[in-house]
């Protein structure tokens, strides 16, 4: 599935200062019954966001109108658990394009990159600075510059660089995906497969 190119994103942020947010919280299993990639954003953080009677839980950040934006900022070890890409779909579908944390689970990071969400891993200290900035002013803007691999808190000018390999960076900045790449090397794969004992 093609996605929008990612170059520079300046946006307000939604803070979720909880550690070990797992994929069952991001999208509970009972919402995985679809056979199409549609509407997962409605059930993003379903059980934190809604009561049993489907009324919104007032104290959950997504239900707080003062917070909005395309950047989700979360506590460490974000996205642990299941391989369900539905978790990344739900985040994308809700409208986020970037998730910032001090630590990501591997599969979630891969899945995000594959669908056009940029996971930005920052130091624990910088993560705290973002939380503080957003707490002080929910309208505080964050700029994520993929080309320069930097993230900046606009209000304070504080900035940090982040890592991403140049292959994935190139893909995201151009809206390419791995399937295009693999299709272009089918012959090599065929030759390789011919030698396999399995």
């Amino acid at each position: 599935m093609a996605y929008d190119k990612f170059t520079v994103l300046t946006s307000t942020a939604v803070p979720l200062p909880i550690e070990n947010v797992d994929t069952d919280q991001i999208i509970p299993a009972r919402f995985l019954k679809a056979t199409e990639r549609k509407g997962f954003g409605d059930n993003l953080f379903r059980d934190w966001r809604y009561n049993n009677d489907d009324s919104p839980k007032q104290d959950f950040v997504l239900n707080n109108p003062i917070y909005s934006g395309k950047i989700l900022v979360a506590g460490k070890n974000f996205g642990s658990g299941s391989s369900r890409e539905h978790a990344a779909w739900a985040i994308y579908d809700y409208g986020f394009r970037c998730v910032v944390s001090s630590f990501f689970a591997d599969i979630f990071k891969n899945n995000s990159l594959n669908i056009g969400i940029l996971p930005v891993q920052v130091s624990p200290g910088f993560l705290d600075k973002i939380f503080l900035a957003v707490e002080a002013d929910p309208k505080a803007e964050i700029t994520v510059d993929l080309g320069n691999q930097s993230i900046t808190i606009a209000a304070t000018g504080e900035s940090e660089s982040f890592a991403i390999n140049s292959y994935k960076k190139h893909n995201l900045m151009n809206g390419y995906d791995d399937i295009d790449y693999l299709q272009a090397m089918k012959e090599d794969i065929q030759t390789f497969a011919a030698k396999s004992i399995y």
């Binding site: 599935m1 919280q25 509970p28 009972r30 995985l32 369900r84 292959y167 994935k168």
Partner: protein
């Protein structure tokens, strides 16, 4: 020319790299691809949108498990969404020529149970599936890990995915395990030491006496939960135990092909002097039966211990308190004696024959506690048949338990097997996340022996007290 000493992981990984991309991932060839109904439909849609074919249909195997009922499997599936997903798997498999073991097929069962038991999983392979517990297959000396749906589409269309090579971790456990201490306790103990994120970025090799002496079922239980400490996967070098398990299974190599494969498999071990990025050593004597008290698998402890304080547990105090609050527990509580409501034995972690033997060993001659609801769910039809053949079925029935039909069931509660809000379940599955076993459900992860002890007493009980 003398070769550099290599780890088992290096040997298998390097043999599957089709191309190295500079400052990028490896193009990584996949020998076996398992698919199920939940994470494959959108991948097939993607193929259609791009007008791509499945490159090697004979390297992909489909089974329905996540979303299947565990009673009355002969009847039509009542939930229309689930039925639709199962139908999609069947249709897509037929369309692209992929072998499909759907509901009702005698080979059907949980993907990570049926792969090994039918000889599809072999040493030295690379194996992926859109399910994080694909790490299970590492028990055979394979590199096996979970992937997302975009990657499922890559494997279908090109038999490759793009993967950066993980770092290497070695975990040694030496000595002899005590009475009542099972492979599940070994892995829960390791996760409690390393935390739920402690192995992120690594691929694990498990080595030492404890794993050498472990059955294949036990090794699968351990490798299965590698993902619960964040590792991509875990593996164990194949040995005589492995070869004996594989020999004669339906899809295992035979005759000359067997001899050739065996000669290769015997080279699959870490060379003397090969380097790991990090090494941990644990002693078997330090491991007692384990139980979790929180909402991630790293929040576990010996069953006779007390729940640690936030300070002792480390990490953020707010997250820790949120977790204990969800569970309805407090710092310094003892777990022993806590009343429980449900028991679940099953899943790709503990749904194999050895697990039901262990469960039955405690249940035999005792009765199910009246207030406990027990869901006893074999990992596959083959396991179910073994349960009957070995007389375990009779032991269970006499004790007041019922046997259900195979599937993932309450492991992820996608079907009707949901633990109600606020209820406590001792579960042999792999995740105690909030709501994992149903909205509001409270999960205590443990071994089949601990589950059995809870099922007959109705409270958290040390199984060693019930073993003769």
């Amino acid at each position: 020319m003398s070769q550099q000493p290599a780890t088992l992981f290096d040997k298998v990984w390097d043999a599957h790299v089709v191309r190295k991309i500079e400052d990028g991932p490896d193009v990584f060839f996949i020998d076996r691809h398992f698919i199920h109904e939940v994470t494959s439909p959108v991948a097939f849609l993607g193929l259609e949108n791009r007008r791509l074919q499945v490159m090697f249909p004979n390297k992909t195997f489909a089974t329905a498990d996540h979303n299947t009922p565990t009673i009355n499997q002969h009847l039509p599936v009542s939930d229309p969404l689930s039925a639709n997903q199962l139908k999609a798997l069947e249709t897509n498999s037929a369309k692209y020529g992929i072998s499909h073991w759907g509901l009702g097929n005698p080979k059907n069962g949980i993907v990570h149970v049926v792969g090994p038991e039918n000889g599809i999983t072999l040493p030295g392979m690379t194996i992926v599936c859109g399910d994080s517990h694909t790490s299970t297959h590492g028990a055979f000396g394979a590199i096996a890990f979970g992937i997302g749906t975009s990657e499922v589409e890559m494997v279908l269309s090109s038999q490759c995915i793009m993967q950066p090579k993980p770092k290497k971790m070695l975990i040694n456990v030496n000595g002899k395990l005590g009475k009542g201490v099972t492979p599940k306790d070994v892995v829960l103990y390791i996760i409690a030491q390393l935390t739920a994120a402690g192995a992120t970025g690594y691929f694990i090799e498990y080595a030492g006496e404890v794993f050498r002496e472990m059955s294949m079922e036990g090794r699968m239980t351990v490798c299965n939960m590698s993902i619960e400490m964040g590792a991509r996967g875990g593996m164990i070098a194949p040995d005589e135990t492995t070869f004996a398990y594989i020999k004669g299974r339906e899809k295992a190599p035979q005759g000359e092909a067997w001899d050739k494969a065996l000669a290769y498999w015997k080279t699959l071990k870490t060379d003397e002097g090969a380097a790991f990025d990090i090494v941990y050593d644990y002693a078997a004597v330090d491991i007692e039966p384990q139980i979790t008290y929180g909402t991630n698998p790293g929040m576990g402890m010996g069953i006779s211990q007390r729940i640690p304080t936030a300070a002792a547990a480390g990490g953020s105090k707010a997250s820790y308190e949120k977790s204990l609050d969800y569970m309805g527990f407090h710092e310094n509580d003892a777990m022993l004696g806590k009343k429980i409501d449900y028991v679940f034995i099953g899943s790709c972690t503990n749904g194999r024959i050895e697990d039901f033997r262990a469960f039955a060993s405690i249940v035999k001659g005792r009765k199910k506690a009246d207030h406990v609801t027990a869901w006893i769910v074999p990992g596959s039809h083959i396991v179910e048949a073994q349960i009957r053949e070995e007389g375990i079925y009779d032991i269970l029935t006499e004790a007041g338990f019922q046997l259900r039909q195979p599937g993932c069931s309450a492991c992820l509660a996608m079907n009707d097997d949901k633990i109600p809000a606020g209820k406590y379940a001792v579960s042999t599955s792999n995740r105690n996340f909030e709501g994992r076993q149903g909205p509001g459900a409270r999960t205590l992860l443990a071994s089949p022996l601990v589950a059995a002890a809870a099922a007959v007493t109705g409270v958290v009980t040390d199984p060693r007290d019930l073993i003769a």
